[in-house]
Subunit: 406 residues, 2 copies
């Protein structure tokens, strides 16, 4: 039987529930007698290379449970994408510290790191069990019905647009919100989840899965404005033209060309500002507001899906069980069963590593500017309990007859 | 005894609890036999002028209670700032529909409207009781310890910065968040509420109550970055130089001058983008991110202070009681009693109308780049129950000794 130490790390962008997975690993690993110590690497793979390790074996359960409820990566994260040389250095630390189990919580880049380390151990005949634990707000991992972190981020985006729709209803005009997700539109699509009445926004949803046409966009906004006297729009940061060029870059170039000057595009508010400016200029609508939801989407404290919390904990727990009782490396995947339960399966790392899943066609409207009811049904079991349910004053039969202006 | 109809309306920017005040008025007014009908004006004073009125007398209690929990203004709002002519038109509708009581829920502009209408009724000897009901996320009404809407917005900003601090701790760099409040810094100051450990951000807080110096700002950021290896900054949208010129305009002019071109400044992300660009360029820090919290601050669905909900309901309820049992027009004000209770007083409209309250000096640090503990104590009873309490892994005594790099 394998004996030795557990090493766990967190990679990529933080989420609201990534610490649930960490705590799932730590608490489950403590149950196994063959585990001598549980180490956490600070700032992901970089901490492994630099031997910046924390001994989590004696963390109290009370504090671990409090950390589990805290958003962002408690061990710290990294954007490093290791190549083979980098992975060699990871492997040196693994060997020096007698690591027998390696768990890496992250997205598709992180799963690729696990794949390289796993192959390296096998080729050197070093007994190391490697398991990748999924997380990403983008929901873009292959083989997964959804990924931990996405449901809570989706809940945040949904609640933001419930509020934005009501705000826009109160003070009519055009409101545009830019949402994270460069290649996959799942999180942007979640903006539509809270719609209740036929006139509720977002009225338009633009996803990176479809080519963005500025002319079509402006025509859509104009038509919506004429129909409802207002317009709420959800836009993915990843929208692009037919050549794949991001719309933010394209619009900025136009501005630059017009001005013969140097336009600053590095700020995160650029896409929202450029699109609202287009609407103002081309459609002549006065009240046009743009927000970029930014980092709040992935780490806002206090908005979380309880379903997501539970599943994020479970993928950490299952990873340890697969590692201890199984005989192969892999990635923990979430499969949907019925309506609604989940099953966790260990799949080969190559099935997920460095690949990107995008929204299936059935979730995108034919016109490419909205989601389908199928997407809302897909999201419903994930969003969690006690979602806000906005109400409005009843207007039928209660309008007061005019006296002066009849 | 006065008999007739009640007219209620909502003005200015929406808040998370402005519908609590509306429902407080409606439910309380229904108890008085002299009230024949309760009308709500759609989109504030504009709805009064246009006779766009909703009869709320027969709204069900269940729906009213659901509306009370819904953010933004259920009756719709307006940015119209009525002059005397406009108020004359309001007064025509008031007379035509036999309105005896007028309640306007809003900020200092709305209270000034109530003042004009009140004076008009008195000069014409028309029996109209007018009461202004406070609301504003800016917390800038004179005579009030705080105003309904502010505590919930403060809670949102606090939760956003708890998350932003943890995100920044996980992936270090500079993070800057721009917060609403052109003249009063209360909401920006709330960013500091969730700090728990000495190294927690926001490390720097810039308020419109102090002159903003770009050089001092950059020196502050540099010093923080050197001390903590990271820096989280809260900035009010209203920061300005010694002449009162907004920093967003000033920085854009510099960019424009450099580029001999035409810079788009109308988008809301401009200030964050310009300041992060300054940090990148002048301090040579690579990872600099800027968010503009935008409309989420005032209408996000699902983040609300229960204290704020209760008080917003009570100011509506008290307004009706003051109007029915009292003998003068006025504005309902919130006074703090002890630690912590509140008392509601009706004060003359002129005490609040068209005036702006700003942060007192005792809430601002000597250096002008942070809040004081006194501000945190001021905010504590307002923020509401079950605020997120982030936890971190304990690092003392748990660092693993290095083997390779010892």
């Amino acid at each position: 039987m394998l004996k030795g130490k557990v090493l766990v790390a967190q990679g990529g962008g933080p989420t609201a529930v990534i610490n649930q997975s960490l705590v799932g690993v730590v608490l489950e690993a403590r149950k196994f007698a063959q585990v001598e110590k549980i180490y956490g690497a600070l700032h992901g793979v970089r901490g492994i290379v630099n031997e910046d390790l924390l001994d989590l074996t004696q963390e109290t359960v009370a504090n671990l449970e409090a950390v589990a409820k805290t958003p962002s990566s408690a061990l710290g994260s990294t954007r490093d994408k290791p190549d083979r040389d980098y992975c060699n250095k990871i492997f040196e630390t693994v060997k020096a510290h007698g690591i027998s189990w390696f768990f890496y919580i992250g997205g598709n880049d992180s799963s690729d790191t696990v794949r390289i380390v796993s192959e390296m151990a096998q080729s050197q005949n070093y007994p190391l069990r490697c398991v990748h634990i999924p997380k990403t707000i983008d929901n873009d991992l292959m083989e997964n019905d959804h990924t931990p972190g996405f449901p809570s981020a989706a809940r945040f985006v949904s609640q933001a647009f419930i509020g934005a729709n009501l705000d826009n209803r109160s003070l009519p005009g055009v409101y545009l919100g830019v949402i994270m997700g460069r290649h996959a539109g799942f999180l942007t699509a979640a903006a539509a989840y809270g719609r209740k009445l036929p006139e509720d926004g977002p009225h338009l949803v633009y996803l990176p899965e479809r080519t963005f046409s500025l002319d079509k966009f402006l025509a859509d906004v104009k038509a919506t404005q004429e129909k409802f006297g207002r317009c709420v729009i959800a836009v993915s940061e990843g929208i692009h033209d037919e050549t794949g060029e991001p719309i933010a870059v394209k619009l900025a170039e136009t501005v630059e060309k017009d001005a013969h000057g140097n336009v600053q595009l590095s700020g995160t508010g650029a896409l929202a500002d450029l699109l609202t400016e287009e609407i103002k200029t081309k459609l002549g609508i006065k009240r046009v507001r743009g927000d970029t939801l930014g980092y709040l989407q992935r780490s806002f404290a206090g908005v979380v899906s309880d379903v997501d919390q539970k599943e994020a904990r479970e993928v950490g727990e299952k990873a340890v069980q697969f590692a201890m009782f199984g005989s192969s490396d892999g990635t923990v995947t979430i499969k949907r069963v019925g309506n609604y339960a989940v099953d966790y399966q260990l799949m080969p790392l190559t099935a997920v590593a460095a690949k990107t899943r995008v929204m299936p066609d059935e979730f995108i409207s034919a016109e490419g500017n909205d989601v389908t009811p199928a997407f809302i049904e897909y999201l419903r079991p994930l969003i969690g309990s006690d979602s806000p349910d906005p109400a409005q004053l009843r207007t039928s039969g209660s309008r007061v007859a005019k006296i002066l202006k009849k």
